[in-house]
Symmetry: D3
Subunit: 283 residues, 6 copies
C-alpha cells in the first residue's frame, strides 16, 4: 500500500466494530483524524486523533466536524434491521447530514459503509455486479439505497465524490456456511477503505466489501480501477462450518438471496438475531 498523506479525515461510527478497526490505519494516512460516535470517547486516543461525541441525526452537531476535512469515512449508523421509525434519524437523516456537511465545507469525498442489503433480494445464483439495481431487503438496506442515490446526485450536481462500499459479512471470522461466500475480514475491510481513499478520482463508485472467498456471490470486476485485492479467504473455515450446518430448504430465502437472513426476516425485525439463529444451526 502506498497512499499519500492526507490532511484531515473524519470517521463516523468510530466506536462500532468496523469503525474501531479503522482508527489506527486512518490515523496513519492523515495528519489529523477526527473520530465521532454517539457513544463516549474510547479509553485511549491515537496521537493525531480527536474524538467528538455526536448524534448523526443532529445536523448542528455534525456540521462542525467536517470543517476543513478532505474526506469523511461514514460508518456511523444503527447496524441492524429495525422499524423505519427507529432507523429514520441515524441512518437516513444521518447520511444526509454527512453529505450536506461535507459539501458545505468543501470536502472532496465521502467513503460510505453501504451494505449488501441495498441489493439483498437479488438471487445468489445470478452473478451480481456493482451495477446491480437496488433491491433492498430491509429498512436497513433501504437506507443504503437512499444514501447511494443521494451520493450519485451530490456527485452529478455538486461534484462531491463518493465510494459506496456494499459490505457483506464483516466479522473476525466467518460465522456460518453462508459466510463462506459473504465474509469480509477486518484486514480486507481496511484495505478496501484505504483504496477508496487513495484512488485519485472516483466520481461515484460502488464496490462490494467481500474477501477473496472461493464462494463469493458478488463481483467487483467492473471497478478494477480501485485496486482492491482482498487477501483472506473464508474457505479455510469450510470444513468446520459445513460440519455443523443443516441442509436448508431449497426455497429458503435466507440462503438463495444475497441478503441472507436479512432477506428472510419480516421488515422491521432484527436481522442480526436471524444470523445468530442461522449460525447456531437452529434456524
Amino acid at each position: 500500500m502506498g497512499s499519500a498523506l492526507f490532511g484531515k479525515l473524519v470517521l463516523t461510527g468510530a466506536r462500532g466494530n468496523l469503525g474501531n478497526e479503522l482508527r489506527a490505519p486512518l490515523s496513519k494516512m492523515a495528519r489529523e483524524l477526527v473520530t465521532t460516535d454517539i457513544l463516549e470517547a474510547p479509553a485511549e486516543l491515537l496521537p493525531n486523533e480527536t474524538y467528538v461525541q455526536a448524534d448523526l441525526g443532529d445536523y448542528d452537531a455534525v456540521e462542525p466536524l467536517l470543517e476543513g476535512a478532505e474526506m469523511v469515512i461514514h460508518f456511523g449508523a444503527i447496524v441492524d434491521e429495525r422499524p423505519f421509525e427507529d432507523l429514520h434519524l441515524p441512518n437516513y437523516v444521518g447520511a444526509y447530514n454527512i453529505w450536506q456537511a461535507a459539501w458545505r465545507h468543501g470536502a472532496r469525498r465521502v467513503v460510505y459503509a453501504s451494505s449488501i442489503h441495498a441489493v439483498g433480494m437479488a438471487e445468489n445464483a445470478r452473478g451480481i455486479d456493482t451495477d446491480e439495481p437496488h433491491r433492498p431487503d430491509t429498512f436497513y438496506g433501504l437506507a443504503k439505497c437512499f444514501a447511494e442515490d443521494m451520493g450519485r446526485m451530490y456527485w452529478e450536481k455538486r461534484g462531491l465524490e463518493a465510494v459506496c462500499l456494499r459490505i457483506l459479512s464483516c466479522t473476525p471470522e466467518p460465522q456460518n456456511v453462508r459466510a463462506l461466500g459473504s465474509w469480509l475480514s477486518y484486514r480486507d475491510m481496511v484495505q478496501l477503505v484505504t483504496r477508496a481513499i487513495e484512488t485519485p478520482t472516483v466520481g461515484f463508485t460502488v464496490a462490494y466489501g467481500v474477501s477473496n472467498n472461493d464462494r463469493a456471490p458478488v463481483s467487483n470486476h467492473k471497478v478494477g480501477f480501485l485496486g482492491y485485492k482482498p487477501q483472506d479467504n473464508a474457505e479455510d473455515w469450510a470444513e468446520a462450518l459445513f460440519a455443523k450446518a443443516v441442509a436448508p430448504d431449497p426455497q429458503d430465502v435466507a440462503q438463495t438471496r444475497v441478503g441472507g437472513p436479512f432477506a428472510a426476516v419480516p421488515l422491521g425485525e432484527s436481522g442480526i438475531e436471524a444470523i445468530k439463529r442461522m449460525t447456531e444451526g437452529k434456524k
Copy 2:
C-alpha cells in the same frame, strides 16, 4: 376503458392539479372514494367521495384513511424542488406512511406519482427505458427514488403491489420546446392511472407518464402489458413553441437531460421557477 368496479379507493394530494383531475374518474371506478390533502376540502364533493384533511407526514392522521381500502393512489407531496429539510416530512416520510398504512390495512396496491426526476440526470439522447437506474436530479427526485425502492421492497417482502408512474410534464398544454417531448396531457394522465388500477396484477412496475408525443424521450415498451395508449401529442403546439424559443447552448443541462430545468437548478432551489424562466424564453 373497461375496468371493474372497485370497493374503496383512496386518493392523496387530491387538491393538487393532478389530484383534482383524478377525483371524478376515480369516483366512477369505485363504490367509495376517500380523498385527502393538507388543504381544506374542495367546495363540492362527488356523490361517493369523502374528503379528509390530513398531513401526510403524520402517520396517525394517515393510517385510518386506508382502513378497508383496495388501493391508494398516492399523489400527495410538495411538487417542486426544496431543501431536503422541507421535503423530508411530506415527500419522504409521507410516502413511508402511505405504504405502511396500506400494508397494515391489507390494501393490495399503491399507485404512486413518481417522477421523471428519479432519473432526471439521464441524457435525453440515449433512449430511456423503464429499467433505467436511478439518477435523481434534485432532493425532490431523490424522494421518488426512495419511494420506488421502498415500493419494490414492500412487494418483495410483503406482497403489496405498486405501480410507480414517472410523470414528466403534466400540464393543460405543453409550455415550451422541451415539453414537445415531455408533455403529459390530463386526459392521458387519467388513462395511465386507470390502467395502473385496473390491470389485474402488477407486482412492482415502473411506467413513464408521457403523452403520445412525436418527440418523447422515454419509452414504455417494456411495460406494454399495462395497456397505456396515450392519445394526445404535443406536436400540435410545435410551431408556436419553436417560434418563441431561443437556441440553447449545446451543453445546457436543462435541455440535454431528461430532468430538464430540474437537472440544471442547484439542489434545493425551485425547479418550477426554472421552468417558468425557460418558458418565458429568458433562460
Copy 3:
C-alpha cells in the same frame, strides 16, 4: 400482401383450429398444397389441395409428404399440457420428423407453430423480447423449446431456415381478461404465417403471435424485418371481459407470468381446462 407464388407447400395439423384457417390462404400462395393430420380428411378439399392422413410420430409416414416441398408449415401437435409420455411422440419426435424430412428433401424453410409456453414462466411485467431465453411452463412448452433449439441447429449446421412463431392465445375472440394482452385473431395469425413464408431470407427467427392489443405483454420490435403488422385489438372486448372478471391474488402465477394458466397448472395437467376455469371466473 404481395407474396410470390410458391411451388409446393406442406401444412401439418391441418384439421386443428389454426391449421384449418390456414388451408385457404396457403392454397392461394402455392401451386400445390399438401395438408395432413392424424384425423380423417376434411369433407371438402380446395382445388390444389391434397390431404394425407398421417401420424407425425411416424417418420416413414411423414417423410414422403415433404418430397419436392419448398416449405413446411408445421402446426401439427397435441395442443395442451399432458404428461410427457403422451406428448413425446407427437410433439417432440413429430417435430424432429418434420425437420429431418424437410432437410432430406431439400426444402428451404420450416414455419413452426411454437408457443408462448416456451417462455411461459417469464414475468408479464418485465417486457419480453424475441430473444427471451427459454423458460417453459409445461411439457407442452418444453417441446417447443426442443423444436426451437433444433430449428436453430438445422439452420446453423444444415442451412435449413426456420421461423418459430410463439403463438399466445389464438381464438376467434378474446376469452378473458388475460387475453386482452395475449389474444391473436385468426386474421392476424394468417398474416403472420404469410409473412413468415414470403420474407425472402429468415435464417433462424423467433416471433410472437399476438394481435395489435393495447395490452400485449411481448414485443416483436427486434424482428421488424418480417413486416408483421397485426390489425386486430382485443381492447374492443375490454369492458365486457372486465365486467365478469374477479380480482386475482397478486401472486397468482396464472396472471403474473406470460404463460398464464399453463404457468399455474401442475406439470402434466391440462392447461386448456385451466383457461376454461379462468374464463368462467371460477378460478
Copy 4:
C-alpha cells in the same frame, strides 16, 4: 413542422439526388443558404441560396464556406463503393475538412449523411438499434464509421454537436424486395434532416434514415427525442415487387445483412451496380 428560423446553413453535396431535394426546404429554414458541390452550379438558385463549386477534399476550398454558419448539412461524397484510393479524399478527408472547418468557425452542429453501410454486415434478422457497433460492409461504409467516430470525438472534445443519419435506400420509389424494408422516401428524408436541425440539443446522435415501412429492419426507438415520424411505407409496392422477385439463396449475404448488395460485393466494386442487378432480378 415548426422549426425556428436559422441564420446561415451550409449544404454540401447539393447537386446529388438527396442534396437537391434538400435545397428548397433548407432555404425556408434559414436566412441564408450556402450550397456546394464539385459540379457546376444548378441552373436556377433559390432566393436566399448561394452556390459555391468546391472540392470537399481541398480544405482551403471548403473552409471559407463555413464562416458564420450555424450548422452544416454534410451530404457531399462519392455515393458508391470504390477502391479506398478513390474514396479517400472526398469521403474520408472531405468529412474531416467539414468537421474541422465547422469547428474553426464556431458552427454548432454537423448533420451528416452517414449510411446503413456503417453497420452493413449486421444480420437483418437480429433487430438493429442505433447503438449497433460498427460493422462496415465496404470502404464506402468504413468512411461513414470514420466520420461517426470523428463526430463523437468533436462532440466530446470540442463541443461540436453532430447527428449522423444512417440512410438506407433513399430513392423516389422502392426498387426491389429488399427496399420494402430499407426504403427512405424523399419526403421522409427531408423530415429527418429537418428534425436533426431543429432539435434544440443533440450532443452526438445516430439515427436511421428509413421510412415507416412495415418491414423496416432497423429501429429508431432509442432516439425518440428527435421526433422523426416517417409517413411513407414501401408496403404499397409489395405486390408489384414480389411479383418480379426471385427466391434467394438462404445464405445470400445481399439479403441476410442490412447492407444488402453492398454487403455482398467484393470490396472496391460498385454496390450500385449490384443493386441494379438485384432490381433487374438477374442477381
Copy 5:
C-alpha cells in the same frame, strides 16, 4: 473441501470414464451410494456402494433407484454424436426419466453432466458466460439443451433443484491445441461435482466444466457462489501440443466455435472420431 455427509446419492453412468472417477469421492460424501449403468457391475465395489445395472431409457428400471435419494448425479448417456434415433432413448428420454423419478421420490437436486455442446456453435472469440443462450452443435448437444430446459422447469414448477455442468474436454491429459482452452482434468471435474452437491441452495444453475486453463474460452464468473476453483492448467502441455499442430484454416469451424470438432461434423456423425483426427493432426 468441507462438505457435510449426505444420506443417499445416486450416480448414473457409473461405468463411463467420468462416472468411474466419481465413485470414490461420492462414496465418501454419503452414507449410501447407488451407482448404475447399462453395463455390468464393476469388478469391485466400494464399501457403501450398491450397483444396479439398468437402462436409462426404461423408466420402470430407473425409478426404484431414486427411492430415498437426496440427490442424483446424472452422468449416464451416450457420449458422442449419433443420429437422433440412437440418442433418443438414452439421452433424451433417459434425462426425463431421471428428473421425473427424482421428483417422484422427493429428491432435492439433480447434478447433471450437461455439455459445452449445448452452446457449441457459439464463437470462441466472443467470451461465453453461463447465460449464453442455447446453440447446440449436434443431436448430442441438443439433448443437453432439452435437459437443461427441463431442469429449469422442474425447478420453477416443482422445486427440484438442478446444477447443469457444461463439461468441455474431460480427459486425463489435454489432447490437442484446442484442449489448451477446453481441458477439464479429472481432479477439477471431481471438485466441480462436489461443489455442485455441497452448495446449500442452487435453484437452477449452469456452470462450465473447464480447468484453470490460461486459454479457457468460457467463464464461470457469474456463478462464483458455487466456489469452483479449478487447480489444473492445460498450459503445461502447450509446447508439446503446439509442436505437432497444423495451422488451421481461419474459417475452420472446429477451431472457431466452442464446440470444436463437434461443431464441424455433419449432424449424426461421430464427434469423437473428429477429435481423434484433429489430435492426430490429420484434420
Copy 6:
C-alpha cells in the same frame, strides 16, 4: 510459451521502443523475419532478420514486404497526438496499406498495435470490456478506430484475421499514479503479441494491452481464449509514485477517463508532453 514455428513474419515500426523489443522474440518464432521502419536500419540485425527502410504511407514501398508473409505485426505509426494532417499518411493510410498488402499477398493475419485511445473518453470507473464502443480521445485514437473497423471488415469480407491490441502505457517502468492501472511491461507486451500470433484462429479480436496490475481499469475476460496471462504488476511502484503525486481535481479528465492525459489535451496537441507534465507532478 509453446508456439509453432512460423514461416515469414513482418514487423513494422521496428525501430520504435515496442517494435525493438519485439524483434528478438519474433525472430525466434519464425524462419524469416522482415523488419521495417521509416528510420535507418538498426546497427545489428538478428540472424534471420531482414530490415527494409520504408515509409508506411507509400503503398508501393510497403507492398513487396508482405510477399509470402504469414502474418504482419503492425506497430508502425506516429505514437503521439498530432494534427490530423500529420497523422493522416502514417497512421491512417499506413494502416490501410498494411491490410491491403497483407490481403494481396494472402497473409492470414494482422496483429495490430491499436491503443486505449480508441476508447480513451470512456470513464475509468465504469469497467471497460473489449466490446466497449469507440470513443476516441485524439486524432491518434481515431486512427486506431479507423484501423479496427477496417480490420473487422477485412475479416468479414475477405477472411483476413486480425488481433487489435489496445495498448495502454507500455514503458520500462510505470511513470505515474495513473500508470498503476495502465502500465504494460515490455515482458507482458511480448507475451501478448506472442499469444496473438500463436492462437490458432482469431477471426477479428480486440484485447487490452495491460499488465497484471491491481488497479487495471480494463478487462480482457471476454477474450480468455487468447490465453494472455500478464506477469507484472505496477503495484510494486505504488508507494514511490503516490509519494510524489498531487491530489487531482475530481473532474480532471486526465484522471477520470481511460485515455488519461490524451483525453485531456486539446485535439492535435501532444499527449506525450501532457503525460510528462503529469509525471513531473506539475500538471
